[in-house]
Symmetry: C2
Subunit: 205 residues, 2 copies
Amino acid sequence: MAPRGQARENLLQAAIKLIRQHGYNGTTVDDLCAEAGVTKGAFFHHFKSKDDLAKVAADYWSAATGELFANAAYHKQEDALDRVLGYVDFRGELIEGDVSEFTCFVGTMVQEAYQDVPEIRRACQESILGHADTLTDDIREAMAKNGISGDWTPESLARHTQAVLQGAYILAKATGGTEIALESVRHLHRYIELLFEPAARRRAA
Amino acid sequence: MAPRGQARENLLQAAIKLIRQHGYNGTTVDDLCAEAGVTKGAFFHHFKSKDDLAKVAADYWSAATGELFANAAYHKQEDALDRVLGYVDFRGELIEGDVSEFTCFVGTMVQEAYQDVPEIRRACQESILGHADTLTDDIREAMAKNGISGDWTPESLARHTQAVLQGAYILAKATGGTEIALESVRHLHRYIELLFEPAARRRAA
C-alpha cells in the first residue's frame, strides 16, 4: 500500500498510465486502485467517482505536460518561426518507445467519453486547446516578421498542429509503430515551412 | 425482434453506431443486441464474441465507406491534382451534423483496442491504410505531371491525409462541434496546394 499522502498522486498517475493503455471504459476503479497500490476507501476519499478522477487527471496532465513544454529548448531560439518549427520537431522527438507512452492521455479519453461524460469532454478540450494556445504568439510573430498573411489565423494553425499530432497517434496505434506518426510530423513541419516561405524568397528561387 | 436473416446485418450496423457514440469498451453485447433488436442467442450464432463482431464490423465499414468513396464525384475530375484536392474537399463535406455520425468507426475503436485486442488493431490498420492507398495513384500522377519531387512519397502523403482527418475528429469531439475539424481539412487542402505549386509558377508569382 502507498503511504497515505501519496495515494492521490498515485491514482492520478495510474489513471494516465492505464487509460493510455486500455482506454477510459477499459479501466476500472479496481484496476486503478491496484496500479496505484491504494484501497478503494482511499480512492473514494480522494475522488467522488472514476469520472471525477479522470477530470482531475486531465488537469494534472495539462500541468505536467505544460511544464515539459515550458522548459523545452525550442523556446530559446531567437527567431519566432524557428521556435514554431522547433516545437514541431520536439513533438517528433517525443514519439519513441512504446505507443502507450508517447500518445496523448486526453486525446485518448475524449475519443470515448466526448458524448457520455460532458465534464471529461470539457477538461480534454481545455487541455488540448490550452496547449495549442502556447503556440499562437510565436506563430503571430513569425507571420509579422515574414510578411505572411492568408485566409488562416495563428490560432487556427496552432489548433491544426494538435489535429496532426492526435491523428498521428491514431495511425501509430493502428500500425503498432512510430514511423507513420513521425512521417506526419515531418509533413506538418514541411507545411509550416511552405506557409512561411516569403513571397520574396519564392520569386528569388 | 429482427427477421432472422437480418440479425447479422443489424448487429454490424449497431456496432458501428454504438461504438462511434460510446467507444468499444463502453458498448456491451447487451447494448448491441438491444440496438439490433436481436437475442443474445442470435448474437452468438453469428459472432464468437464482441471482439469477433468488432473485427468483422471493421471490414464491413471498409466495404461500405469504400463504396461511398468509389462512387464520389471527385474521381471524375480530369486532372490528378484536382482529384486529390477534390477528395480532401469531399472529406470536408462529410463533416456535418452530429459528431458521432461523421467520425471514424475504426479510428475510434483502435484508440482503445490497439494493445488489448490485436485482431481489432489489424482490422483497423487494414481499413485506414487500405483507404489511404486509394489516393496513392492520383498523388503519384499529380507529382509526375507537375514535376514535383521531394523528400516525401505519394504513399506518405496519402497516409498523412488520414492522420489529419483522424486528428480533426478528435478535436471535433473535444469541442463538440464541426468547425475545428473543417479548419484542419482546409489546412490539409492548402498544404497539398503548396506542395504541388510548381517551381515555375513560384518564380512567375
